[in-house]
Symmetry: C2
Subunit: 342 residues, 2 copies
DNA sequence: CTGAAAGCGCTTACAG
DNA sequence: CTGAAAGCGCTTACAG
């Protein structure tokens, strides 16, 4: 038993004020033709009776659902991508909240299941738009949302087929930043421990890495694929250190990989950064807590989420689809590449 | 322009089949009084025309919203709690998805703002129930959801006022597990680096720790509060090691604190586990990637989320409110407390 | 400036 | 076994 009696409806408000339901509705929605006095009284009674519009009724009579959907397809889930999602969501919320939008979350197991969720959401008119993440090669999702007429924005693009507008991070520039730092320190043999290459953002980074290696004629530039697990990163590290000319710097796609690489190097008797420098392409609290702290690419993921949400809301308000670009992440140099002055 | 024409409504289905809208509705909702043949034809045409019920229309005519709400209040946000939330959400989804429920997420900045979100959700009939997390001392939320008549379940309880049923982890048993392990290894001086003590689950662990220290007459049992940041954990570690009889084992509330404690110990020239053993009360990929790997309390957070969701759905189906208890986390012993045999 | 009426797309008593 | 009608709680042309 709550303290609330029966929930008031608009009719109750109108009756209490002594006007028609139409008048009350107009007053609330700021439409013309209502005297200031009436408007004031309506708002007063609404406040007094604690009325709030029924969401379903509003949507049924044509209003937007004021909900954005996001599906997380948990293939290769990692702690690191979990962090990324949380930050993305938090950032999106900062914008959505102001616009009175909610965020509907669904977890799927395959891209096909994810597409099915979009189909349902659109058919039910349950969301106004969706945010796509982790695009892969030959991903069915952009085509699907276009066919469904479901407004969408890609968080981390671009979409190679240009079907869905995106908010992108310049992966090439980010990788260049890392390699410039490494080269300036004099390293000529560099390895890159990356994630699964069917992820387009991994692909872009690998291409940028390869390109830089060629351009600067580095002596070594191995790309070591992993499935984002510590185990695979450890195996990759052991393998590459067997090389007669092993790398003196190792770039890691994220923090979990970096922590594993560091541990493996130590187990093999290598010191950091003395023997091998290590860089993480993702900055998390663990990077600063380690000893030495990890040099890392730092990006403002909540800010990224905010931009993604703003972009999508803009589209819903009729803005033309357009790709936008985030600021390049910044490189935070720490002890894993440059020893602290004694 | 999608490939879809106009979205069909139930009337179109009924017309196509040649029955009344009522008949079509009854057929779809498995109500009696419809011939098998009619039912079959309705389902056939629904499939053929790709009809799905309008969410808003259904809710407006009395159906449940089939949505569960969860508000994250980001006071003292840490990477670790982000991981926890993601896993909780993922686990909840595994149950919600099967029940055709969605999860609506909102981020708030204060408990008061969180309560306001509940008020709005309930007034709009936007969710059927909510999941509460991170209860604090004198938390306004249990009272609020009760007053709002909003079904709720507390993830990680119990609620001291018993207003809201909970799914709990036995924090006392978990802490006992850790201390038993540490005592078996012969440690008599133990410190506990914990989170903010206004969090009830932290409070419960601290009490269990204190109790065990008294009961087993340990020589030292310092509780070191932190705000969950690496910085505060480092400071706490330095401080306690200045003690004339410093701890030989340090228990940490989570992985971020543990990583920081390990780094600080190393910086002070202490070896792990030789000089000091370290335990994390939260197991994440970083715990296994470190060298030595961290002994940690491992719990099945997705499973916990699944139980929480099932509990809430049960309440919505009329089950009596009841507290339930999760399995005690298990202790995974690794190199940070016991050196690997050479 | 305001009111009576229809409509959004379902569900569900109530008659037949 | 089936149909006509009312209702959920809003919004919005359309008359006055």
């Amino acid at each position: 038993m709550g303290t609330t009696g029966k929930r008031p409806i608009l009719r109750d408000i109108a009756a209490r004020v002594g006007v028609s339901e139409t008048a009350a509705s107009f007053a609330l929605n700021g439409r013309p033709g209502i005297s200031d006095e009436t408007r004031r009284r309506v708002l007063e009674v609404v406040e007094e009776m604690g009325w709030r519009p029924s969401y379903a009724a509003r949507v049924l009579s044509g209003a937007r659902s004021r909900t954005i959907g996001m599906v997380l397809t948990r293939t290769a889930a990692t702690a690191d991508s979990d962090l990324f999602f949380m930050r993305l969501m938090t950032g999106m919320q900062s914008v959505l909240r102001r616009a009175q939008y909610g965020l509907l979350i669904q977890v799927a197991e395959t891209p096909e299941e994810e597409v099915e969720v979009y189909r349902t959401w659109q058919a039910e008119r349950r969301v106004d738009g969706v945010v796509l993440v982790d695009l892969r090669a030959d991903d069915p999702r952009p085509r699907a949302v276009v066919d469904l007429d479901l407004p969408a924005v890609l968080a981390g693009g671009p979409d190679p087929d240009a079907l869905v507008p995106s908010v992108s991070i310049d992966d090439t520039a980010a990788m260049t930043l890392v390699l410039d730092h490494v080269r300036e320190l004099g390293h000529r043999r560099v390895a890159y421990v990356c994630g699964p290459q069917d992820l387009l953002h991994v692909q872009r980074r690998v291409e940028a890495f390869d390109e830089a290696v060629r351009h600067h004629r580095l002596q070594q530039g191995s790309v070591l694929g992993t499935d984002f697990t510590s185990r695979s990163a450890a195996a990759a590290t052991r393998a590459v250190l067997d090389d007669p000319a092993p790398p003196t710097a190792i770039i890691c796609d994220n923090e979990v990989l970096a922590v594993s690489v560091v541990a493996t190097l130590r187990a093999l008797g290598r010191s950091i950064p003395g023997d091998v420098a290590v860089i993480s392409c993702e900055d998390t609290p663990v990077c600063t807590a380690m000893q030495p702290a990890l040099t890392a690419l730092h990006r403002d993921t909540p800010g990224f989420g905010a931009d993604v949400a703003a972009h999508l809301l803009g589209r819903l308000d009729g803005e033309a689809p357009a790709d936008s670009q985030e600021q390049t992440p910044e490189l935070v140099v720490r002890g894993s590449t440059v020893p602290a002055p004694a």
